[in-house]
Symmetry: C2
Subunit: 239 residues, 2 copies
DNA sequence: CGGGACGTTGACGTTAATCAACTACCGTGG
DNA sequence: CCACGGTAGTTGATTAACGTCAACGTCCCG
């Protein structure tokens, strides 16, 4: 139960509804049936560990989490970022397939996997919400797969910026809620390449870099064309 | 209804249980509740088209199918190969997210999506089977994502060979049921790179290339180490 | 004011794409 | 039976993308 340790190590609970979690989503429906346990997560905190036998289901109420795996030679691949309203730990096949850490502080709800499964069994609305959440996760993975399989380094960054803009964008300024290293490990490029791409987009007038964690999309169409126009075939190399 | 056209264009039906589809899997359970319509598919035939509004659910009884998307600049990315026992069209969110074609001839069962959804609602065993199928697809995508995100070209080929070996391997000889171009478009590399990698593995004594569509794994451990030992960071380039 | 984490920028080297020529394997028709 | 053509695959030479290495800048916290 390393996961249990990780969760128990969280900085205790704090009640009070959070900001940012969209209403009506799968997490929202689940919470109507299963109250779950509210927890605070602090930056960098581990929420779950890869290979744990019986994961829990964690809903993100605020803040951002990263799900990742470590390869045999010590590299990290961030499969996905989960923000407010997102759920971690669905589609379990016995063990957790990745570790989860908090990118930024926030609140989470923790459910027992068995309880979630029971709710799926009993409640039609929960069931359809969970199925929908699985389908959305699948669609999200497909986008990532296409990005990693068919786009060059700069294009990956551009595509990710558009995703950030869609997911976390406020009016005007968009957030880059994670450090460069996280972007790099998600996109399968180096932090140097991320940095160079961002600054080149800025120089080209496609975006405006406000500070390390904020940007503005100036020419969305051009950004889109950059992604589409000049796709790349294979992966690079590296070592 | 372009998909309907595609399916109706199939070379009519043929009854008789097939070979190769594992018993007890999700498809098997689904068929006990919903008979579906049996069809033959011929090599290269289109089973479904990206962007169709109301997909059907297609189960593969024998043969192999490829699911792919075309990018704006005309490149193809094969998301997955689906063999006997596999199901296509789960997790629909309104429209089909990719096109499907037959890599090799075989038999399929076609269900109406609405009928599948009804079966999920009514039958607990079907429901859990479908949820499991979704979870397995998710896990499969994660493997692919890791491969595309963290492995270099040769390593992708090696990893894919091991997957082929696990999925389609007979005792001794393993099949490569698809042409090189399909491998390349799945792995995000060029056919030249695929070819070079295969022949290098052969020269190194890691595998034995029997003919274009068969190989034998000679040193599984060494192949595994090649994948793990020397991972690569980013993508290549191309254009 | 010092130190460390995080990010940027430049020079260089390696990977794998591109371009191109060539081979093997079909099936078809003379 | 062999020439023909078209598809699929192999192999080599060249080149561009991006990783690596390294130095530098910036911000924050003590």
């Amino acid at each position: 139960m390393r996961q249990a340790q990780a969760l128990n190590a969280m900085s205790s609970e704090s009640y009070g509804q959070q900001q940012g979690a969209p209403s009506g989503g799968p997490l929202d429906r689940l919470r109507r049936v299963l109250p779950g346990t509210l927890r605070e997560m602090t930056q960098g905190q581990t929420l779950s560990l890869e290979g744990e036998p019986n994961g829990r289901v964690v809903g993100i109420l605020s803040g951002l989490a990263r799900c990742f795996r470590l390869t045999a030679n010590g590299r990290r691949h961030i499969c996905r970022f989960v923000g407010a309203g997102g759920v971690i730990g669905l589609g379990l096949l016995g063990v957790q397939r990745h570790s989860t850490e908090a990118v930024s502080a926030g609140q989470v709800v923790v459910f027992r996997t068995a309880a979630v499964e029971a709710a799926i069994e009993h409640d039609t609305r929960v069931r359809s919400a969970i199925m929908r959440a699985l389908a959305e996760e699948l669609a999200e993975r497909e986008r990532v797969q296409l990005r990693l399989g068919r786009l060059g380094a700069e294009q990956r960054v551009a595509d990710f910026l558009l995703e950030l803009s869609a997911r976390f964008g406020a009016a005007g300024a968009n957030q880059i809620p994670m450090p460069r290293a996280d972007m790099a490990d998600h996109l399968g490029v180096t932090i140097e390449t991320v940095s160079r791409a961002l600054h080149r987009f800025d120089r080209l007038g496609l975006i405006e870099l406000i500070d390390l964690h904020q940007f503005r999309v100036l020419r969305r169409r051009a950004l889109q064309q950059l992604i589409e126009g000049d796709e790349v075939n294979g992966p690079p190399h590296g070592v």
